[in-house]
Assembly symmetry: C2
Homo-oligomer: 327 residues x 2
Amino acid sequence: MDNRRMPTIGDVARLAGVSTGTVSRVLNQRAGVHPQTRERVLEVMERLGYVPMQAARELTGRGDTVGILLAPGVRRYIPYFVLLFEHLTEALWREGMRLEETPTDAAGLPLKPARGYILLGAHDHDPRLEALQNAQTPHVLIGVYPGAYWVAPDDEGGAYAATRHLLELGHRQIAHLTGQPQQQVGRERLLGYRKALEAYNVPFQPHLVLDGDFSTLTAYRVLRKAWEQGLRFSGLFAASDEMALGAAAALEDVGMRIPQDVSLVGFDDLPEIGTALTTVRQDIAQIARAAVRLLKESLAGGAPHGLRVPVQLVLRGTTSLKEVRTA
Amino acid sequence: MDNRRMPTIGDVARLAGVSTGTVSRVLNQRAGVHPQTRERVLEVMERLGYVPMQAARELTGRGDTVGILLAPGVRRYIPYFVLLFEHLTEALWREGMRLEETPTDAAGLPLKPARGYILLGAHDHDPRLEALQNAQTPHVLIGVYPGAYWVAPDDEGGAYAATRHLLELGHRQIAHLTGQPQQQVGRERLLGYRKALEAYNVPFQPHLVLDGDFSTLTAYRVLRKAWEQGLRFSGLFAASDEMALGAAAALEDVGMRIPQDVSLVGFDDLPEIGTALTTVRQDIAQIARAAVRLLKESLAGGAPHGLRVPVQLVLRGTTSLKEVRTA
DNA sequence: ACAAAGACTGTAAACGCTTACAAATATCCT
DNA sequence: AGGATATTTGTAAGCGTTTACAGTCTTTGT
């Protein structure tokens, strides 16, 4: 293995004929370096293949280690979060930052300080939010949080597109399997569903809204029970792929075929889950990149703002034209 | 945010009345420190909650950044893995090592070298295993892998204890809901079940073994279908808590009460999952600590070996004495 | 009792980087 | 021209840890 010493800031300084301080300033894009000097330094860095050593930067309190904070009580092993984790790792990596898993104390606060944080599953009056704000620690939230930096997918728009798709296939009895009403996501998706119905002049029927909780098992039980009790519909929009999977299993078990008898649309398009599903794709990678970009803004200082990441309807095998049965 | 400075080696030294050099020696388990001094230093470290700062160690060339490698194709969001992740983070952190999320390439190999690795979900002839072995990179596997460093829970023993518990409650018709046969875990748990039956002279009945796949939904469907087709039993040992949950839902939906009609035992005792379940507890924290200990051994060089972590039956509300029905 | 050897401990330099401060140089104003 | 500013640069002290080296005690052997 390459056992030559990695070039340091000192090497760069010597070769560029400047001091280490100047090199550091160039590195951190600080003002007050003569353009020519900057140019020379950058050239040498390029030539040497210089890469700043993270550990040393960290020691001076300017590390780019980013932590992830998950709200206490939120299940960490929700596929969505896990995937987001992965993409955040990747996105940070590209920017030369590192994602470190930091253990948290009982209150959910990190035991070890990081340069910035990305928060998942925070609720509106999360005490940790206040703590971060007070400490002026840069942070970005996943979800909608006016007043902070946040990134969220276009849940309402996605739900609208999903429902519209069913409507355009001719379905009029369209059920919706919701997430918990406590969660913003679930509410936004329900709203999109309702708006689409409204746009197509299909009356909203409360009994077609089935209460789920984002879990596959509950979806199965709710669907099966509803069907057995006589509820009928030809289209179903489930607020997540996992629920769509449970719903599909239930419908099959009561003798329905998908999509011949019931058309089904999910939401999320997570890899490895329902890969045959017509669904609304969230580009998690894009969300991760957006979060990292905002984190950098936050690091640089600026006015907090949010970002909506667009979603996209993906047509696969679980939806079809409403059969017009001849009487 | 907690803006108190983290305690440093200097703080420890001052409070213990020794020099930083000595503290460092204690930290690195170097010889030549008086036992009493060592004791005192360790006490102060404990009291202060001192944790060495990884960045500083890295600067001196003694960094211990550890990576986690998950077999490609293995679902990362399995609760068990996620929890293991958390505990590994914690355990490594205590030892002054850091767990860094490293993106991997298509083959599942890390893009950035680390001091050592912990592998999850590897299969017997994983190409990555060979790669690590060839590169002499220290690594520990979770699961049973003769010839390497490995840590695994006592699956067979736990299954034995679970089944014995049901037997001692008087149950004789005991079903077993398995995991996939491709996975070692599933096989070992099945073996424990069979051995317990044997020990109590209860004949093994193949039709009482129900094929699951560790998922809640499948468990529900398999159980419900089996019951509806007339299969009867008074005890059920599910190879995981998640499956036990699905099974319980199915049994309830067909009108059975737990534990009055059917006694149920799970496996894993994951927090947030089936907290009312009689189950076999795996101490994931202990497994994580063991993995870290082995990793350190591996780092120090030595003969690879494995470690079984004991499990424990936890009695809760889902098992009861077999009712003796008077005819 | 005394030197030599051994056990233990303290000291300070080094790791690569940032940054407050001081110093040097350039620019502007009257 | 002669200061007053503004711009650019260098200097050196730190960040938390390790470790070679030099001390200071103990023990041991004679």
